[in-house]
């Protein structure tokens, strides 16, 4: 690959060497991929292995494949209830994020007002705050929201939003990273359209709604994905805020399977698969956005 002498036999040798390099390249990738996927293959196989066999001879291809573990996972624990809870909170978070971060990001990019840069960098700075710092205050605030859960006007006496879906959704409603990504997206977009519409007398809201929003589908998808996975995959906040089965989320319900001394791994794997499927679907349908959203912050930031 390094020499470029136009001699015939040398070119031939170079070609075969490049080909060998490519074969090696693919082989190494293949081995790495198999190693990375290996635990998942076992997870799937274990989930289809009858629970009695799962303690002894597990093989990559179950001899008596069964769906009983999936039935156990959905009926024994709290998974079906948790699934609905997570879906509701995720849906709310997706809606609020799409609404508020997209409009805010757009305004920061195209409708600067006095001090908007200061406000923007203040918002962005909060993205760097560790979860642990806000965890305790948010918990105390959630428990003393006035008039909720038996609280009085000063937020005392009851349990507030603890153990409710409202309390669960608090940290996910607006993602500051998403505001940043949306702003970057709109900064890279021409303002000519807006100018033309302004001359024609369109209002700012109209310009945003009918011109920019329709062409910003990719970034809205990224925001929605971030919001959804943020809710769906979180464990710490639900662990803190949920105190009974009625407000459990999927990840929390998963950990419920490991609390007994004798862990039933086969139903646990079935439960883990059930919990993973929604995220996997979101990923499959938005693969392009997933990865571009991930790298956006790095390349332009």
């Amino acid at each position: 690959m390094t020499d470029t002498l136009p001699i015939d036999h040398q070119r031939k040798r170079r070609f075969s060497r490049a080909e060998r390099g490519r074969a090696l390249n693919i082989t190494v990738l293949l081995i790495a991929t198999l190693m990375v996927l290996f635990p998942f293959l076992w997870m799937i196989s274990l989930a289809f292995t009858p629970a009695q066999e799962a303690f002894r001879d597990v093989s990559l291809w179950p001899s008596n494949p069964t769906l009983e573990n999936f039935v156990t996972a959905l009926t024994v624990g709290n998974l079906s209830r948790a699934f609905v809870n997570s879906a509701v909170v995720a849906l709310v978070a997706v809606l609020t994020n799409c609404l508020f971060t997209v409009s805010a990001g757009y305004a920061f990019a195209h409708l600067p007002f006095r001090g908007s840069n200061v406000v923007f960098y203040c918002l962005l700075a909060t993205a760097a705050i560790p979860v642990a710092v806000t965890l305790i205050p948010l918990f105390l605030m959630a428990s003393s929201i006035p008039f909720a859960g038996g609280n009085d006007a000063l937020g005392r006496g009851g349990s507030g939003l603890i153990d409710t879906l409202g309390g669960l959704s608090i940290p996910y409603l607006v993602g500051t990273m998403s505001i940043f990504l949306v702003r970057q997206f709109f900064l890279g977009m021409s303002r000519d359209l807006a100018e033309a519409a302004r001359i024609d007398g369109a209002s700012e809201l109209r310009i945003f709604w009918s011109i920019y929003l329709p062409i910003s589908r990719p970034i809205v998808a990224v925001v929605a994905i971030f919001a959804f996975t943020g809710v769906w995959d979180d464990l710490l906040w639900p662990l803190v805020v949920s105190s009974s089965a009625r407000s459990q989320t999927v990840q929390l319900a998963l950990t419920g399977f490991t609390q007994s001394g004798n862990i039933q791994y086969a139903p646990l794997m079935a439960a883990a698969i059930i919990v993973t499927i929604p995220v996997l679907l979101v990923f499959l349908f938005n693969q392009r956005h997933f990865i571009s959203g991930l790298s956006e912050g790095a390349v332009k930031g």
Binding site: S103, T126, A132, T134, L140, Q251, S295
Partner: protein, 277 residues
């Protein structure tokens, strides 16, 4: 301005106010169960942390965990990114497949490894075929943190690889051609073209990894519950138990701010180190 208002108001109430509230709490003694108000104790919580062996232990575990997962996962991710940066048929399949561990939640992934590390799990099975005796991977203080680390390295590979791949693709092809014509070998190309071109992305990946890894919680909660003998108790896990099992909100808040400073320091070192060369 009207468009910004809802988001700004939310961040103010649920992000900025909690930080201030937490800072105030860290100077108080507060046990909500006793129905009393927080009592101001000054710097007492912070002073107590200095002499607290559990907290120092947790800081050490957090630092070790972060610093042993980070280089390994980045090195492997970089090799995979270089391999997947060539164009051949089916390369997309590899890129997606390697990304899968990133999509599955940390909790679910920890469940798989809990089984793999268990007494009759996969890893002891494999050892058994080589006539080696089974190990209690997560029950020994000497191996538990390393066991969790291996899981996390595997889990972090995908997103790191995808990001590094995106970084590699921003390096202009003609730089490689120009260097080749000047007679640069493979190693020189990597050292003088690839690495400098990849630097912004590499710094970004390292910084975000530091931020995520030093806040580890879910995998500890599932795999080891901080044990055995606190050998896997990270600061985040300690904060959780201090606040929500022992109900010491003041001291837990102080821990959170020390963790904040710790993460900020590590990240700044990484950013500074990346800028100099």
């Amino acid at each position: 301005m009207l468009l910004v208002a809802p988001a700004a108001l939310y961040v103010l109430v649920f992000q900025i106010v909690p930080v201030v509230y937490g800072l105030i709490l860290s100077f108080t003694e507060y046990t909500p169960l006793q129905r009393g108000a927080p009592t101001f104790v000054g710097l007492q919580n912070y002073a107590a942390l200095v002499g607290d062996a559990d907290f120092r232990g947790a800081l050490w575990v957090t630092a070790r965990y972060t610093l042993q997962v980070l280089p390994v996962t980045i090195a492997i991710a970089l090799v995979l990114a270089l391999l997947a940066n060539r164009s051949f048929r089916g390369v997309g399949i590899f890129r997606s497949a390697l990304y899968v561990p990133h999509i599955v939640s940390l909790t679910a992934v920890s469940m798989i490894w809990l089984w793999m590390y268990s007494q009759n799990g996969l890893i002891n099975d494999i050892l058994g075929t080589f006539n080696l005796s089974p190990q209690h991977w997560l029950n020994e203080p000497s191996s538990a943190l390393n066991g969790v680390s291996v899981m996390r390295i595997w889990k972090a590979l995908g997103s790191n690889m995808v990001l590094l791949l995106a970084g590699l693709q921003t390096i202009p092809k003609n730089l490689y051609e120009a260097a080749s014509i000047d007679g640069a070998g493979r190693w020189h190309l990597f050292r003088h073209v690839t690495l400098p071109g990849l630097r912004p992305m590499l710094i970004y990946v390292i910084a975000t990894d530091i931020i995520y890894l030093s806040q580890s919680f879910a995998e500890i909660f599932v795999l080891t519950s901080g044990g055995p003998l606190r050998s896997t108790t990270t600061v985040n896990y300690l904060i959780y138990t201090e606040a929500f099992e022992y109900s010491n909100m003041g001291s837990a808040s102080a821990m959170a701010f020390v963790l904040f400073a710790f993460i900020a320091a590590l990240t700044l070192i990484a950013l500074r180190g990346g800028r100099e060369r």
